[in-house]
Symmetry: C2
């Protein structure tokens, strides 16, 4: 059985090219690496190096072994982190999402639940959702699409509906709803982290300009002291920081189909019983409008 530290030395050597630099990188002495690579060759029963008095290089087999060792080391590392993640997931039910809106509601729920609930502050691309669940980095992922695999299942929660907040004297505000087309060419204040909504507004509103703000505090300040329109959804009300009573804008829902997203909760089938009360709470507090 090959010892991991030998694989580590091999991988390091394949990157540095000399035993001296390898030793330096691993914080050991040269003789240690020399002996290590000799032992690795001996354990495998294979020649990995071409040796000259002052120079040592990988053979073709050695390069292949280093390539395989790199992957194996990554999996080795993943083992520890996954075990620890699983252990953590047993005590804390972690919720993440691909959109900010559902996370706001989730945070609300978390405060009124006796269970240990952790709601992440950042969100991930939807193509990482499956990985987050199977590696137990999250127990619940809120997404705009269903995820169906042999070990995963999804449950529909409700819809997130986009609205735009316009200055009350703008002519587009003289109707109960608007369309993306009617927002053509306008400039919007947008928070940097709005997940999948970003591609929606960029795709649907022609020739629009988006002033992305990284800091939520800066976003609030600029909205207060300017007339730029900004977006919100039916889930924005759960944002504890967005309470701006002195807003001169009016909220106008967007009629387009693309302005609505169905939200699903995805989780491991093995966790079905654990997430059940959380799903019930999310559905119970989902706004009707």
């Amino acid at each position: 059985m090959i010892e991991p530290y030998l694989l580590e030395e091999l991988v390091a050597f394949s990157r540095t090219g000399t035993l001296a630099k390898t030793a330096q990188q691993l914080h050991v002495t040269q003789p240690t690496v020399t002996r290590g690579m000799q032992k690795l060759e001996d354990d495998l029963g294979v020649q990995l190096f071409d040796r000259q008095p002052n120079r040592i290089t990988l053979t073709a087999t050695g390069r292949h072994a280093a390539e395989l060792a790199t992957r194996l080391m990554a999996q080795h590392q993943a083992f520890s982190t996954q075990v620890q993640a699983f252990d953590h997931a047993q005590r804390v039910l972690t919720i993440t999402a691909t959109l900010p809106g559902p996370l706001l509601l989730a945070r609300q729920i978390a405060q009124h639940t006796d269970q240990a609930l952790s709601v992440t502050t950042t969100f991930s691309p939807i193509d990482q959702a499956t990985d987050l669940l199977t590696t137990h980095q999250a127990t619940l992922v809120l997404t705009q699409r269903e995820l169906q695999t042999p070990t995963l299942e999804s449950r529909y929660l409700g819809r997130e509906k986009l609205a735009v907040n316009l200055d009350q004297f703008m002519y587009q505000a003289n109707q109960t709803t608007v369309t993306f087309a009617e927002l053509r060419g306008m400039s919007f204040l947008v928070l940097q982290d709005i997940g999948s909504w970003r591609e929606v507004i960029q795709r649907e509103i022609p020739q629009a300009k988006f002033l992305y703000q990284t800091q939520p505090s800066a976003f609030r300040e600029i909205t207060t002291y300017s007339d730029f329109p900004y977006f919100s959804t039916n889930l924005s009300r759960f944002d504890p920081h967005v309470a701006t009573p002195t807003d001169h804008r009016v909220r106008r829902p967007i009629r387009d189909a693309a302005a609505q997203m169905p939200i699903y909760a995805s989780y491991l089938k093995a966790d079905r019983q654990r997430v059940k009360p959380v799903l019930a709470a999310l559905r119970a507090h989902w706004p009707d409008d």
Copy 2:
């Protein structure tokens, strides 16, 4: 970094259920396993076991860790074997196939080549072909279908064409070729190991009976002292053992499309230069008929 022997002990324990049996299975003493599992918990920083004075059981995390460890150990094992296989493949070009016919020709080639060529005696299902190549267990796989992946490529070699050897006095022998339909209900002597041909004849010949023989020697003997028809192909001539001059049967090619198979040579793109002369030899010796 988790030591492999600790993972091995965990995997063994998850199967045996007690430390005593685990120790027995691994040929070590109980205290060794006790300390090992304590160290594993310590290294991972996670509780894997529920301990009672006379009983130790896996926690949920422990079961999950054992599951992950099982897979990791398999990959760990695969590392060594793959490095050794790669090393071996550098000196010996190994050819395998999904059909016996192309292998016969390959053996012929191997004798007239200066290069170190190894031709396997058994053949594998076609769905294992990709794995054989990527794990370097074979450098060349002869199959009836093309294999196309980012790292693999296939080259057409020729066709293998099925024929049936009938007693010269049978009425079906009164024509230059026959069809599968005309063989309806007959009984055939067939070698057990004929690869993908087996499903062809079973599917195409209605109500036929197949007398499968495991031993080639028994097959030859029965063909000699009986009148049962048997199959051969345009590649059978390369079989050094099948030279039976005193055969009372006549060879009749089968007309159906299903009685012909295109044969491709698949290999890693990285091996293209190495296999080039072998492919040329295979194509050069491929029979025209």
